[in-house]
Symmetry: C2
Subunit: 572 residues, 2 copies
């Protein structure tokens, strides 16, 4: 089986053929994570010679996906390795510049797919920073010591509190439109209007002014929270950090757990993790992810869970699923469909969910649940067709059952008519799925509702009926009756139906499927988070296809060449 085609338009600077999302602080090139009691500092100090791809320098704390992978990693470590931290301060180590935003040369040379996935990941990272504040009580402060332009200011927007130095030149800006003919698409427009609630005409002026806004007007227009003279900047930051730490509700332990490196065995046609494996059938454009249930019962106590650390099954599996989804998104561009399978004892999966429920006030149990929530959101937002195949021996129960509801379709093998042999001639008991409390609250989608509530918009009574079935092992007939699966098929139809579906999926236009799934997966309400991925991202993706931005005479290509872009002046 062939290796994936080179996923990127230009070589990775490290000589690898795939982008890796795993890192740790000892390998950071761009960030320094310092922890001092309750206050952590994330110091942005981008190594301009350490870009992810060849062909550009990361000047002025500009960033690419590699920089953001480190940021995402650091935020995870604040959650799991530093439970005592109550405030995180984002600062720059460069003089007079916080961040110049996404690197323009990188964007100008990136494939469309890379641009889209880069933006998606950076959006998820910034949403994760907000989740850290809202749900884990780690408040964030952005201390802007100079220029915060474009993506630099968008990062600031994801924090709780923006402090701008008042030195006559430091400014925040979103110059994407006037400079580059693209949008502030990493949440910028949405956070300006929906989080900072900047008045729309002020936002219009701000987003069309290259040099941005500084000083008193930046506060009046709600773009920053404080402007502080340079001489008082450090003291003001320290005071705010202390104030926020005092108000934080985080009740973490003094000692965290280590997020040890994932165990990964790479082969040409797949990756084997500790509790999961992925197999690529590249000719068929299929990636099959098989999740393994726990091998042992849950630990006896919360302390035992802490002692297990990163080897604790739910944590291990969540980290692995996250890694494999990101790997497919960025490196396996031709995969049309992700097939979820599982293997294990559903009762054991439910036992782990019950264990986490029982310890819901324990900091680690809570962080694991929030991690699953974010990983499942990442699945929802993955622009590949998603299908769950529920077969004998599988363990789609509780948390793992969410993958059924995250999928575009789910097929479940029904027991063969009496007397016939089972699927593949094996002797496994018939496939079952099971629901638990965890399917009814802790894992909202980006639109703020649970997958089951979103599934059963037509009749909330269906949610109640599903809830009443918690804990029961549901066979195909029962699952079908409750509306939890799409099709229950017996052994005679199974192989053909599944094969035809996967072939069909691989034959459709990938773009059409992306748009279809982006609409059908998110019925019901919208939130700021979902607006970022729908309204803002969809418009940005459109612009990323338009010659005015990406054509040879477009603004992205001509930026920095001294030549003005040439625009098609027709509005659409």
């Amino acid at each position: 089986m062939a290796e994936a085609k080179h996923a990127t338009a230009r070589p990775l600077a490290n000589g690898e053929i795939r982008i890796d999302f795993q890192t740790d602080p000892s390998r950071y090139r761009h960030w320094k994570l310092k922890v001092d009691g309750e206050v952590a500092t994330l110091l942005m100090d981008v190594d301009e010679k350490a870009g992810l791809f060849e062909g550009y320098d990361l000047k002025l704390n500009s960033y690419d996906l590699g920089v953001d992978i480190e940021l995402a990693d650091a935020i995870e470590r604040l959650r799991f390795e530093h439970p005592q931290v109550r405030v995180v301060v984002l600062r720059s180590a460069k003089p007079r510049v916080f961040s110049a935003g996404a690197n323009i040369r990188m964007l100008a040379g990136a494939t469309h797919a890379h641009k889209v996935n880069f933006c998606k990941f950076t959006n998820e990272t910034r949403n994760g920073l907000e989740d850290l504040s809202e749900n884990s009580g780690v408040k964030s402060i952005c201390a802007i010591n100079g220029t915060a332009a474009g993506g630099g200011y968008e990062l600031a927007l994801a924090t709780d509190h923006i402090m701008l130095i008042d030195d006559g030149s430091a400014a925040v800006s979103l110059p994407e439109l006037p400079l580059l003919a693209v949008l502030p698409g990493t949440g910028g427009l949405t956070r300006v209007s929906d989080k900072r609630k900047v008045r729309r005409d002020h936002a219009d002026v701000f987003c069309t002014t290259e040099e941005g806004v500084k000083g008193k007007r930046a506060v009046e227009w709600r773009l920053v929270d404080d402007v502080v003279p340079g001489s008082k900047f450090d003291a003001a930051i320290a005071a705010r950090a202390e104030e926020f730490a005092a108000k934080s509700t985080r009740s973490g332990a003094a000692n965290g757990i280590a997020l040890t490196p994932l165990k990964r065995g790479f082969a040409a046609d797949g990756v084997a993790y500790g509790s999961l494996r992925v197999e690529f059938q590249r000719a068929e454009r299929i990636a099959t992810i098989t999740l393994h249930g726990p091998k042992t019962p849950p630990p006896a106590s919360a302390d035992a869970m802490v002692a297990l650390g990163a080897d604790f099954w739910p944590l291990q599996l969540a980290r692995e699923l996250d890694d494999v989804i990101l790997n497919i998104r960025l490196n396996e561009l031709e995969v049309a469909a992700i097939v979820f399978k599982s293997a294990g004892d559903p009762a054991q999966v439910l036992a782990y969910d019950a264990f986490l429920d029982a310890n819901r006030d324990h900091w680690l149990a809570r962080e694991i649940r929030h991690l699953w929530k974010r990983v499942l959101k990442r699945v929802d937002l993955t622009s590949r067709s998603l299908v769950t195949l529920i077969e004998p021996g599988s363990c789609f129960a509780g948390t793992l059952a969410e993958l059924i509801f995250a999928s575009d379709r789910a097929y479940m093998l029904a027991p063969s008519p009496a007397g016939e042999r089972g699927h593949d001639g094996d002797n496994k008991p018939p496939a079952t799925i099971a629901l638990a409390d965890v399917n009814f609250g802790p894992y909202p989608m980006v639109n703020g509702v649970t997958r089951l509530a979103c599934r059963f918009l037509a009749d909330p009574g269906d949610v109640d009926r599903a809830k009443a079935a918690r804990g029961k092992m549901l066979d195909a007939e029962a699952a079908q009756k409750l509306g939890l699966i799409t099709f229950a098929l017996d052994d005679i139809d199974w192989d053909d139906e599944v094969r035809v579906f996967l072939e069909e999926r691989a034959s459709f236009s990938p773009d059409g499927l992306t748009g279809l799934e982006a609409n059908l997966r998110f019925a019901g309400p919208e939130t700021m988070e979902s607006k970022i991925f729908a309204r803002l991202t969809a418009w940005q993706n459109w612009i990323f296809q338009r010659p005015n931005a990406i054509g040879e005479e477009g603004a992205l290509k001509r930026y920095g060449t001294g030549q003005k872009p040439v625009f098609d002046m027709r509005r659409v």
Copy 2:
């Protein structure tokens, strides 16, 4: 001044150089509007030789913009000319086909701008049909006698009740993705998931199945409301119509008013209407719309208003504004900015708003308010920069003040310092604006909130402060203080600031501005209506740029040629 460049990629079939949105039933080629007491029938009978453009036949009740212009006109006439109608039945005059949807040859040959604006207008028409039901009590039934494919089914989705004939072959379908590699973008995906609340996996199956769904499954999956045997179809429709008529709350009069043809004087550089004129400075890419206040006080009674009919100032102006906005959208593609000006007595404008308030239970007053609501939504959704210039002699009060809040920015001329001469040396009193009750409820945006609520998301107290100022003539300083305008400028700065703004706007990438404005104008909540224009439309526009759909080997181009499309199989 030059005529607008030919706005379309291919010749209009009628030999004209611009698409005209004005029509009347005597000129319909595609629809028949029959009124029989409380029940109206809209019979779709598309003349396949009467396409808007040359180069395609409108077979099988497929449609283009010309067909939809007639539909939109017919719906307006149901509101104003037939106030006694309580139910409208949409049917086809063709045997065994309701509608094959948007014409594929038309789409394949249309410019990107035409496709986008065609979809926007058809969406507005379908939203208007829903508004007719929700706010005017005219319930709608779609009677599907055969194939309802793509846009044909999307039209059905906009009605209150879908009846499908049960003849073993009649089906509803959304085959856009499998056949054409595009989305059901005329509200289809959003209405399937958010209005019909079809379960997402069923929707996935439905939208990827060319032949669609029929019979019992169509009801079970919530795609239609009734399936009826052919022998009972007409009787069942009549019974439903009677049932809905009995439940309707419409309390219209027996006699409506005639929507007489708009008075329009076309010149090369503009159009003069009865209460409005538009001037094009095409070299500068500016369209200036000047709205004229009423020449006379409001009529003495509701009967006098009815007697005035289409000449009643608020109705006349709303129809004219609608026509000019549509003209700019479809025919004046290079216009970057629409400048709103007004001339008249603001007190008289307020008097008309007070008259409509006083007659709010009168059917005609209500329809006029709903028309303004829809026209203002059309303004919000127009992808041109919008600016209001408030000068001495203007009358931005009440309803007309909504244009200030619909604009991306508003500039107001402040009185010159004492002793200096006024603006342009004239002797008009200083510019004022005024608010009225109408600014605080009757004109919600597509996202369900008023423009002022959306403007003042940060502090609802600002809405209260604005409300407290109702009826007052607010000068620039007062308007500025209340946050109602962007900049108050005196005579010294006015010309330069406005000129620089308009030049800047004309220099930016039109696409970037479209995306920026689509985000900044719609802060706050989303509704089904706003989801159609944001999530669905933005994704569809993206797909309309992708080679898999529109390239020489793409599905739209290859449809019907016997050649299969060739897709780039990378997902983004």
